[in-house]
C-alpha cells in the first residue's frame, strides 16, 4: 500500500518527469489505479486521488473550451487584420488631409491678389481649415493607442495558448517603460482631459 505521506511527493515527481502529459490521460490512469486499489487505499488517499482526477478533468475541459475558441486564429488572423485596417485608416486620412492642405495653401497664395475684405475672408476660412486639419494628428495618436491595446491582447492570447501547450511562441514580457516615456499618454478622452484654460491656470500657479 502507498504511504499517505509519500503520495504527494510521488505525484510531484511524476509531474516533473512528464510535464507534457495529457490531463485526460492522467485522469484515466488515476481512475484505473483507483479501480484496482479499492480495497487497499486509505480514505485520505482515496480522497486525494479523487481530487487529482477531478483536477485533471477540469484542465481537460478548459483546454477543450480554449480550443473551441480558436484562440490561435485571434493571434494569427483577427488581430493583425484589425491593426492593418487601422493603419490603413491613418494612411488614408493623412493623404486626404494633405490634399486639403494643398488646396488651402493655393487659396492662401491668392490672398495678396485680393482686395481687403475678400482677402480677410479667404484667410479666415483657410485658418479654420488649418485648425480643423489638426484632427489627423489627434486621431492618429488615438489609433496608435488602440493598436497598442490590440497588441497587448495578442500577447495575452499567445500566453494562454502557450500555457495550454498548443505550440506557440512564448509570450514576451512588456518592455520596461523609459522614465520619460511613462508620461506619454496621448490624447485624453474629453471627459477626463484638461482644457487649455485648465492648463493655463496650472501654469500660472507656478508663478
Amino acid at each position: 500500500m502507498l504511504e499517505a505521506a509519500l503520495l504527494p511527493q510521488r505525484l510531484a515527481e511524476l509531474r516533473t518527469r512528464y510535464p507534457a502529459s495529457d490531463p485526460e490521460m492522467v485522469a484515466d490512469v488515476v481512475r484505473a489505479v483507483l479501480a484496482t486499489m479499492r480495497g487497499d487505499v486509505t480514505a485520505p488517499n482515496a480522497s486525494l486521488l479523487t481530487e487529482v482526477e477531478e483536477l485533471a478533468c477540469t484542465v481537460a475541459d478548459a483546454r477543450a473550451e480554449i480550443a473551441a475558441l480558436q484562440a490561435a486564429d485571434i493571434r494569427a488572423s483577427h488581430i493583425p487584420s484589425a491593426t492593418d485596417e487601422l493603419d490603413a485608416i491613418v494612411a488614408r486620412t493623412a493623404a486626404a488631409t494633405n490634399t486639403i492642405l494643398e488646396c488651402c495653401e493655393t487659396l492662401d497664395a491668392l490672398g495678396p491678389s485680393l482686395a481687403g475684405e475678400a482677402a480677410r475672408a479667404v484667410q479666415d476660412v483657410t485658418t479654420k481649415v488649418y485648425e480643423a486639419c489638426g484632427f489627423q494628428d489627434i486621431t492618429g495618436q488615438r489609433i496608435t493607442k488602440v493598436v497598442a491595446t490590440l497588441q497587448a491582447i495578442e500577447r495575452k492570447v499567445a500566453h494562454i495558448i502557450e500555457i495550454f501547450g498548443r505550440g506557440t511562441n512564448p509570450a514576451t514580457a512588456p518592455e520596461a517603460a523609459h522614465e520619460t516615456q511613462s508620461l506619454l499618454n496621448g490624447p485624453q478622452m474629453p471627459a477626463s482631459a484638461m482644457g487649455q484654460s485648465d492648463i493655463d491656470a496650472l501654469l500660472a500657479s507656478f508663478d
Binding site: 492642405l101 483657410t126 489638426g134 508620461l183 490624447p187 482631459a193 501654469l203
Partner: protein, 128 residues
C-alpha cells in the same frame, strides 16, 4: 514691446502634416522664417547650428521626446534662454508639471486654434 517676426522659428514634430499646419498658421501671423525638425535629436542639431528665436515642439516623438529636447536645451549654455513652447495632446496634470519643471515657456494642448497659438507666442516673446 514689439515682436521681431523676422526671427527664425524651429517647429518640431514627427507628424509631417502637423508641421505643415503649424508652418501655415505661423505664416498667417507673419512668421515666415520657419524651419522644421522631425524629432528632438534632429531639432537639437539644428538649434546648435542655427540662430533661432523660438522653438515650438511636440512632446510625443522618438527617439528623443519633446520633454527630453527641452531638458537638453535648458542645459545648453548657448540655448538655455531660448523661448520654448510645447504643443501636445498630453494634457494630464503630471505632463504640464513635468514640462514646467523642465523649464517650458508655455504649453498648448492639441487640438488648438490659431488664436491660442498667436496669444502664446506673443506672451512668450514679450517676456523673453
Amino acid at each position: 514691446m514689439s515682436i521681431d517676426k523676422s526671427m527664425n522659428v524651429l517647429i518640431v514634430d514627427d507628424y509631417k502634416t502637423m508641421l505643415r499646419i503649424i508652418r501655415n498658421l505661423l505664416k498667417q501671423i507673419d512668421f515666415h522664417n520657419v524651419e522644421e525638425a522631425s524629432d528632438g535629436t534632429d531639432a537639437l542639431v539644428k538649434l546648435r547650428a542655427g540662430n533661432f528665436g523660438l522653438v515650438i515642439s511636440d512632446w510625443n516623438m522618438v527617439p528623443m521626446t519633446g520633454l527630453e529636447l527641452l531638458v537638453e536645451v535648458r542645459h545648453d549654455p548657448l540655448l538655455k534662454s531660448l523661448p520654448f513652447i510645447m504643443i501636445t495632446a498630453e494634457s494630464k496634470t503630471e505632463n504640464v508639471v513635468a514640462a514646467k519643471q523642465a523649464g517650458v515657456s508655455n504649453y498648448i494642448v492639441k487640438p488648438f486654434n490659431a488664436e491660442t497659438l498667436r496669444g502664446k507666442i506673443e506672451k512668450v516673446l514679450t517676456h523673453a
